[in-house]
Structures are given as C-alpha cells and as structure tokens.
Amino acid sequence: MSNLLTLIVVLPLAGFLLNGLAGNRLGKAFVSAVGCGLPALSFAAAVAAFRTLEATGEPIVDVVFRWALIGDSAFEVSFYLDRLSAVMTLIVTGVGSLIHVYSTGYMKDDASYARYFAYLNLFLFFMLSLVLGRSLLVLFVGWEGVGLASYLLIGFWFEDPAKAQAGKKAFITNRVGDAGFLLGMFLIYTAVGTLEMDRVNAAFMGPELPAVSASLVGILLFIGATGKSAQIPLHVWLPDAMAGPTPVSALIHAATMVTAGIYLVARLSGVYLHAPEASEVVAVIGILTAFFAATIAVVQTDIKKVLAYSTISQLGFMFLALGVGAYGVAVFHLYTHAFFKACLFLGAGSVIHALGGEQDIRRMGGLAKRIPVTFITFAVATAAIAGLPPLAGFFSKDEILWFAFASEAGGAPWLWALASLTALLTAFYMFRLLWLTFFGQPRMDAETAHHIHESPWSMTGILVVLAFLSTVGGFVSIPHFLEPMLPLPATDEHLHHFEVPLIVVAVLIGLAGLAAAAWLYGGDASRAARLGARFTGLHRLLSGKYYVDELYEAVLGRPLWWISDRIFLRLGDRALIDGTLHGLAGVARLGAAALARIQTGNLHLYVWLALIGIFALLWWSFGHV
C-alpha cells in the first residue's frame, strides 16, 4: 500500500474528529472504541510499514501534497520512514495505544471523557507528523501541535486555575524554544535551500559543506530541543505539567513528546556530526540537566513530581549520549525509557487511583500488599530505571556511560563521573520513592486506607505489559539496528580495558542506591529526617528547585510586565503619544477660543472687516496687475 504512512498519521486524526465532534452524543463505549481502536490500527499500519522497510531496506517516502511553491522553493508535506523514524513510530503508536487502553479505566468517571480521548488522539496525530515528517516544516507542525495537545491536556481540568496556568507555562516555555527552532530552520533553509531532512543531512555529509556554521545551526535547533525536552534552562515547565491526568503524564511528558528533542538531534545527526561545538553544548547541557534534576528529585514529596524530575534527568542522559555522538544509544535509551517510565507513571496513576487522588508520598506507605500488581510492576520499572541487570535500563544506561567515557567525539572522564553520580542519585531517589510508597507503616488517614483497592484489569493489564517490556526490552539492540544510518562513534582503543570494570561499577552504583534508600527510609525513616535536619540549607535549596522559577519571574516576567505597563503603556502610549495629541488639540482649542473673540456677533464689524479685506485684495492686485 502506497499511502501507508499517511494512513498511520491520519487514523488518529480521524479519531480526534469523531470524538471531538460527536463524542458526547455517542456514549462512552463508542468513544473508547474509536479512541483506542484507531491508534491500535495505526500501530498495525506502523508494523506493516516497518515490515516493508525491513524487506526493501529503502526508506519509504509518501508525498501527500504541496503546501506551497514560492519561486523555486517548494514546501511539500511528505512523510518519510527510515530506521530511525520506524523505531519512533513503533514506540509512539505502541506505547500510545497501551496508554489509551489504560485511560479507559483511569478516566472512566470523568465528565469530559470524549474530550479527553479527542485530545489524546490529536496528540498522537501531531506526534506522528513530527516523527514521520520528511521536511523540518512538517516536523515543526507536529512539534507545535504536540505542544498544543500537551497544553490542552495539562489544563484538562481547567477549572482549577493552577492547572490551566501550568498548561500555559508549558506552552510559553516551549514557544521560547520554538523561536530557536525557527531560527535554526531558517538558517538551514538559507544555507541548503531545502527543509527536507534527508537532503539536509546529505548536504552536510556531502563533499561541499553548506556555507554556514553547522554549530550555529546545531545550537539553534538545540534551543528548540531544550524547550520540548525540558532541558536547562527551559526545564521549568515539565514538573508543573504533572497537573494533567496521569496517563497524559505517562504518554506525553515521559514516553513520547518530551523525547522529540532527542529525535530532532538524532534526525539531523548529519548536522551535528559536523558541529563539534554544538555537540559539546548538547553534552554539557545534558549532563548538567541530568545531575541537577536528579538532586531535586531526591527531596520531592509528590509522587508525580519525583517522576517528572526523573524524566528530566533521563532526558539529560539521552542528550549526553547525543552530545558524544552516540545517536543510536540515545535512541536506545529513549526506547527503554519509554517503557519503564510509562510503567512508572501508570503505576503512580494506579496508586493515586487507589488512594482517591492522593499524590503526596508522605501520606502513603505500606501499599505493597494492598495493591500487589501495581507494586510488582512498579518495582520492576524502578529496578529498570536504576540500571539493575538484566532489565532494560541497564543496557541503555550502561552504553551511555561507556560512550560518555570513551567516545572520541567528545567523551571525557568527567562526563562519565558526573553521569555515574547521577545514576547513583537516580537509583537512590527511585528506591526512596518505592520505599515511601509501598513499604513501612501506612500514613494515610483511616478513611482513605479503607477505600484502597487494586485498579481494574484495563489498567493493571497495561502495567504488566509495560513491566514485561521494561524487563526484556534491553535485549533488542536498537543501536545495532540503527547502525546503518546512525553509526556509533569511534572509541579510544586505550580505554577498552575499562569496559568491563565500568559495567561492574554501574551495577554497584545501582545497588548502592538501593541500599542507601533502604537504610535511610527503612523503618520509620527517622534517619532521613535527621539527615534533612542537618543540611537544612541544602534541603531548602533542593526543595525550592534551585529557585529557577522565582529567578525567571524576577528577571523576565516582572520586568516584561513592568516595561509593558509602565514604559510602553503609561509613558509611551498615554503620556507621549496621546499626550502630544491631546496637547495639540489643546493648542487648537486655545487658538479657536482666541479667534472666537472676533466673533462679536456684530454684523457691522463683519462687513467692515470684509471691506478691509477687499482693500487688501485691491492693494495686492494693484501691485501685481
């Protein structure tokens, strides 16, 4: 089938239109069928397309229509499936379909059920455009579109102003990144003359480099990626985005949308390969984000916020991999992360569901026996993210650490050291979360405790599937699969004897984190409390998330408002411009008042003045005729 790619993209759109226009009238069963069925069909189509790709080995191109033709510049809407986008498409449609099914249970009693599924399908549509778009333009359409879907879903319960506010914050922060993206895109267009990414890559890989600094392009596009993938300095929106329904956090803010930045960089690897400075920036920003987010996650008390910072941290890992040239590895981690982070979020959703909406881990505890399926899957996913073998996270994280250490395209020991420290923190805060949630004494009130129940099979079933994937996913070597198009960077021969010791260190780190969490939070968690009391300053700094939000508000938000209100509106518009106008009007009025004195109403005077006027004219005409 020639239009398979179009079909993949359009199916969720159909779901959006159906559910959005008629969903409320058609009942929940219909909404669920459309909402889950079409993404599933899309997944099936993706599998079919993948098989075709496997069979032929040639990328599939699907030209849909011409968006614009201006002079010699053609902008086409076309879809492009190669190994990279195939992996992404399978993740997006696969995990996406699972989360749709999960949502039928989670959102069962929500009044806006149809609206929810419409938004979710809309998200899938844009995400697939992003992943499958051949041109940067189509990618950008998807890029902005997923931002929109994210905005709508974060603010899904819009009656709470804080939630609506969080959606807005996400959108605006992303817009800042998008400005960079746009500039990068313009620069590419100016230099290469096309926005089609395979051609852009080819142009940069070709014998004649385009007359533009690849690093500049790379950095500009990376600014876009920091917005979407919540990297420093644009990471502030993701924790707030947890205001949305939990399946949304799992799908959009963990598994798929936030990885768009990684996809973008991997997609344009041709540019980044020739941009060592940009790659360095990517690596440094990645590792810094990973580290700082992990430190914040250590003290968070909201179950979803912990996971949110964990997501930021893991995305930082992926950028680290991209920065050292290991594109395939980054995608590998993206792939495993999609499974275990989705599993964690959905597990958290199940916990929240069980506790009737409670999200504070200080009021949880002892849930292991009450909701066993959730507990087991959550534990598996936690182990996976902590990097314990043989779970999925172990493989991908280990490869990242290795390339951070040994890659000749920017690897360095200090990157490895910081990454390992971050991995330790990761293991620690994840097991802390596990302990506080599932072990120890129950800390919720009796009423809540009484109502604790395991979630319906539509939710637990998905958890099991995802936990299974988190377990075995690591055995599919994505880097190897991608190698034909995203070759791994060369590593320093002299360092190869470090490979095995490093793996051992990584495993030990994971176990150390586990042990530390168990020791600190085991029993009544009094050790942790004492530790917190000793380092109050640090604790406050971490709990305050390094006060980045406050900083932005003080440096950007308030000055912008002040300038707009005081300088532009009051001084510029009202005082200067309107003031000048009203001043002129006043002068005119005064002049009129002065002239009005001649208007005595005395007709004789008027006539006499006319007489004088006639003489003046006569006088003038005598002079001139």
Binding site: H604, F615, L618
Partner: protein
C-alpha cells in the same frame, strides 16, 4: 447730443439717490430714494438702447422688489433705536472705508484711462434677438432660473411656517 445729456442727467440722479440713502433717517425715505436710483438706472439703460434691461429694471426692481420692501417697511414701522440713532458704532471707520473706496476708484480710473466709448442708442440689445437667443441657446439657464425661484418660494414658505412653529 440729447442722449448724452440724458445720460449725464440720469447718472446724477442715481448718484443723488445713493447718497440720500446713506443720510435719510426714515426707512421709507430710504426706500423712495432707492427707487429713484433704480429708475435713474432704468433711464440710463434706456438711453443706452438696452430696452429689455430697462424694462426689467422697472418691472422687477421697482415693480416687485421695492414694492415688497415698502410693504415690509409699512408693516414694521417701529420707532426703535435704529430710528433714533441711524448710524452704527462704526461711523468713522465706515466713512473712512467709503473714502478709501472712492480714492481707489479715482486712482484706478486715472491709471487705466478710458474704458471705451459707448454710444447711446446702440442696438445690441434688441428685444427679439434677445428673446430668440435666450430661448434657443440659454434655455437651460432659463429653466434653472425657474428652479431657483421655486426654491425661493419654498424657502419663504418654510420660513413663515417656522415662525408659526416657533410661536406655537
């Protein structure tokens, strides 16, 4: 020669009437001197041989306009401040203006020299030629004139109605 004398005679009459209008106190007297001036002018026209204009001058001005005027004066025979002090506050500026006017006139007449002699009794304004031309070439103007008159009639009526509304 007689024509020339008549011309001078009527010119003197018109001038006298005009001056009298400035000094006479009673509006009726002013009106009578204006009629005198108009009749003198009619005489001048007749002497020049433009009988059509002369006839119109008498018919329209004296016959219609001034009669209307006289009626108005009789209707409004108010002995108010305009009667007791006939001149406005601008007496001296007004006289000065008049003097300037005359001065300018003299200046121009001396500067420009003769206008060109016009023999009394020239035949340019023959009645039948005028009539034929008027209704052949200037029929549109003729019609427009009637429109103007109609408008004047409507306006006069409107004013009178306005008076009634204002009073009531």
């Amino acid at each position: 020669m007689i024509g020339q004398a008549l011309l001078w005679f009527f010119a003197a009459g018109a001038l006298a009437g005009g001056v009298a209008m400035l000094v006479l106190r009673h509006p009726m007297h002013v009106a009578l001197s204006l009629i005198g001036t108009m009749l003198s002018l009619a005489g001048i026209y007749a002497a020049l041989g433009v009988h059509v204009v002369a006839v119109f001058q008498v018919l329209i001005y004296v016959g219609a306009v001034m009669v209307f005027m006289v009626y108005a004066i009789m209707l409004l025979d108010v002995r108010d401040t305009s009667f007791t002090s006939r001149y406005s506050g601008l007496l001296i500026p007004g006289v000065a203006g008049l003097a300037l006017f005359i001065g300018a006139l003299v200046y121009v007449l001396r500067r420009e020299g003769p206008v060109g002699d016009i023999a009394p009794g020239a035949t340019a304004f023959r009645v039948e030629r005028f009539s034929v031309d008027f209704l052949h070439e200037y029929w549109l103007h003729f019609e427009l004139t009637s429109v103007l008159l109609l408008a004047a009639v409507v306006a006069a009526i409107a004013i009178l109605k306005a008076k009634r509304r204002g009073d009531g």
